[in-house]
C-alpha cells in the first residue's frame, strides 16, 4: 500500500515541476527586471521614444522595440494567415486522400525546421534579393523579416486550423450540399463558421510564436533602434534587442535590468495571448460545435 501512495506522490511531484519552473521563470525575470521600472518609471520605460542604453546618459524607452515587434509580427501574419488557413482548408476539404496523406506529414515536418536556418536563408539569400528588387542599400529590414517569419508560422497555423476543420462533423457538409450549396459555398458559409474558434486560436498562437521568435528577427530585421518610418527600414524587435545586447552588458547594470524589463513585457504579452487561446477554445466547447 505504501508503494501505491509513494508512486502517486512521485507522479504528482513531477507534475508540480512545471508549476515550479513557470514560477522560476516569472520570479527570475521580475527580480532582475523590476529595477528598471523603479529607475526609469513605468511609463517612460514603456512609451519612451528612444532606446540608447549605451549612450551617456542612457535612454531606456522601449517604444521603438515594441513598434518594431508589432510591425514585423503583423507583416508575418499578413503572409501566413491566408497561406496557412488556405492550405488547411485545401488539405481537409479538397485534397485527394492520397495527397492529404502526403501533405499532412510534410506540414508537420516543416514546423520542425530550426529558426536559425530560416535566419540564414533570410540573411544570405532573401535579403540580397529584396535589396536588388526594391533598389535598397540593404535588404535586411522589417519587410524581409516579415516574409521569413510569415513563412515560418504557416505550418503552425495550418496544422492547428486543419485539426479544427477536420473535426467538423461530416453531416454539416452533407446538409449543406443537400440544400444545393456548392463546395465553395459550403466551405465559406458552413465549414469555416463552424471551425471559427479553432482557426482563430491558430492565428493567435501564430501571433504569439511570431512575436516571441528570436533568431529570425535577430539575423534578418536589420537591428536599427529608431522608430521605423516604413516597412523597408531596419528594425529591432524586443526579442532581438535582448539577444543582441545581453552579451554586451555587465551583470547588474541598468542596461542588464532593462533587458529583463523587456522580457517582462514580452512574457505578459505571450501570457495574455495564451489566455485568449484557451478562452476561445473553451467557449467552443460550451457551444458544442
Amino acid at each position: 500500500m505504501i508503494k501505491e501512495k509513494l508512486f502517486k506522490y512521485l507522479t504528482q511531484a513531477a507534475a508540480l515541476c512545471s508549476v515550479v519552473f513557470l514560477f522560476g521563470i516569472i520570479f527570475s525575470i521580475f527580480k532582475e527586471g523590476y529595477a528598471i521600472f523603479a529607475e526609469v518609471g513605468f511609463f517612460k520605460f514603456l512609451f519612451g521614444k528612444s532606446w540608447h542604453p549605451t549612450h551617456y546618459p542612457p535612454e531606456f524607452g522601449i517604444l521603438p522595440l515594441i513598434i518594431s515587434s508589432l510591425v514585423v509580427t503583423s507583416g508575418a501574419l499578413i503572409v501566413s494567415v491566408p497561406l496557412g488557413v488556405g492550405s488547411a482548408i485545401y488539405i481537409s476539404e479538397l485534397a485527394h486522400p492520397k495527397a492529404k496523406e502526403f501533405l499532412k506529414p510534410l506540414v508537420e515536418l516543416l514546423a520542425g525546421v530550426p529558426s536559425v536556418i530560416y535566419g540564414l536563408f533570410g540573411m544570405a539569400f532573401l535579403g540580397p534579393f529584396v535589396s536588388r528588387v526594391f533598389g535598397l542599400p540593404i535588404g535586411l529590414n522589417a519587410f524581409t523579416a516579415s516574409i521569413i517569419l510569415g513563412v515560418m508560422v504557416v505550418p503552425i497555423i495550418s496544422s492547428i486550423s486543419e485539426d479544427a476543420i477536420n473535426s467538423i462533423p461530416r453531416q454539416l457538409r452533407e446538409a449543406s450540399f443537400a440544400l444545393g450549396a456548392n463546395k465553395w459555398e459550403t466551405i465559406i458559409k458552413v465549414v469555416l463558421p463552424a471551425a471559427k474558434s479553432g482557426v482563430i486560436s491558430s492565428v493567435v498562437l501564430g501571433f504569439g510564436r511570431a512575436i516571441g521568435e528570436t533568431m529570425v528577427v535577430l539575423m534578418v530585421a536589420g537591428g536599427a533602434t529608431a522608430i521605423p518610418r516604413s516597412i523597408f527600414k531596419p528594425v529591432r524587435p524586443m526579442t532581438s534587442a535582448i539577444a543582441a545586447e545581453m552579451g554586451e552588458t555587465t551583470m547588474g547594470s541598468s542596461h542588464f535590468h532593462a533587458l529583463f524589463g523587456i522580457a517582462i513585457v514580452l512574457f505578459i504579452v505571450t501570457f495574455v495571448l495564451n489566455l485568449i487561446t484557451e478562452w476561445v477554445m473553451r467557449t467552443k466547447g460550451r457551444n458544442g460545435t
Binding site: 508503494k3 501505491e4 508512486f7 502517486k8 507522479t11 513531477a14 507534475a15 515541476c17 512545471s18 519552473f21 513557470l22 521563470i25 527570475s28 525575470i29 532582475e32 491566408p82 497561406l83 496557412g84 488556405g86 492550405s87 482548408i89 485545401y90 479538397l94 501533405l103 515536418l109 520542425g112 525546421v113 530550426p114 536559425v116 536556418i117 535566419g119 540564414l120 536563408f121 544570405a124 539569400f125 513563412v151 504557416v154 495550418s158 456548392n182 463546395k183 465553395w184 459555398e185 465559406i188 516571441g212 521568435e213 533568431m215 539575423m219 526579442t239 535582448i242 539577444a243 545581453m246 552579451g247 529583463f260 522580457a263 514580452l266 512574457f267 505571450t270 501570457f271 495564451n274 484557451e278
Partner: protein
Amino acid sequence: MGLRKLKEILGINALRLAILISVIFLFLFIILIFVKGGKLISFTFLTQPPKAGMTKGGIFPAIIGTLYLTILSLLFAFPIGVLSAIYLVEYAKENLLVTIIRTAIGTLAGVPSIIFGLFGLAIFVVTFGFGVSILSGSLTLGIMVLPLIIKASEEAIKAVPDSFREASYALGATRRQTILKVVVPTAIPSILTGAIMSIGRAAGETAPILFTAATFYTRRLPKSIFDEVMVLPYHIYALMTEGTSPEYQVPIAYGTAVVLLGLVLVISSVSIIIRYRMRRSKKW
C-alpha cells in the same frame, strides 16, 4: 447559376494557390540550403575542428556539443514529462491544483525561447553557479521541451483503452501495477515518438543557449558538463554575424545548416513515420 459557379472556381483555385505557394516556397528554401551547403559535406568537414580562424576545417566540436546538449536535456525532461502525464491522466481529479498545473504547462509551452535563455542565465548560470556550461544549457532546453513531452505522453496514455485497465484490475492488480505493467508498456511507442519530436526541437533551438551554453570557438571537446560548448545552431548564427571573412564563412554556415537540417528532418520524419504506421496497425 453562372456567377455561383464562377465564384466557386475562383475560390477553390485561390485555396489551391495558397497551398502551392506554401509548398513551393518551403521546398525551394530547403533545396537551396541543401544545394548551397551540400558540396561542403565531407568526411573532413564532419570530423575536424574549425581551422584558420573559422575559415577552413570542419564542425566536429559543434556536432558533439549539440549531441551532448540534446541528450542531457532529454535525460532531464523525459522522466519528469512522462511521470507528469501519468499523474494528469491516471490520478488527477478536476480540482484547483490540477487546473493550476494544466495552466502552468500551457503557459510554459507559449513562453518565447529567449525568455528561457534569460531564465537559464539568471538561475542556472548565476544563482546556481553552473556558469556558461553544458549543464546550464541542457537544463534550460529541458524545461523548454518539457511541455511537448508532457502533451505527447498524455495523448499516448489517454489512447490506451479503459478495457485494458479494467482487465488488469479484474486480475487483482493495483493501480500502480496497472500503470507500470499495462498502461505505460502499451503507450510507450507513442510516448517515445513524442520524445523523438522534442529532440528535434531541442537540437535546433538557439535562443535559450545563447547565454547559457554556447561559445563561438573552442578547439577542444568538452571534458565535463561544466564546460561551454560549440553547438550547431549557434555556429550558424555566429558565422553569419560575427565572422570576419564572409566569403569563406557563409559557405561553412550553409554546410552547418545542412547538417543541422538533416539531423532534425531525419529525427522528425522517423517519428512521424512510426506514428502513422502505429495508427494504421492499431488493433484496438
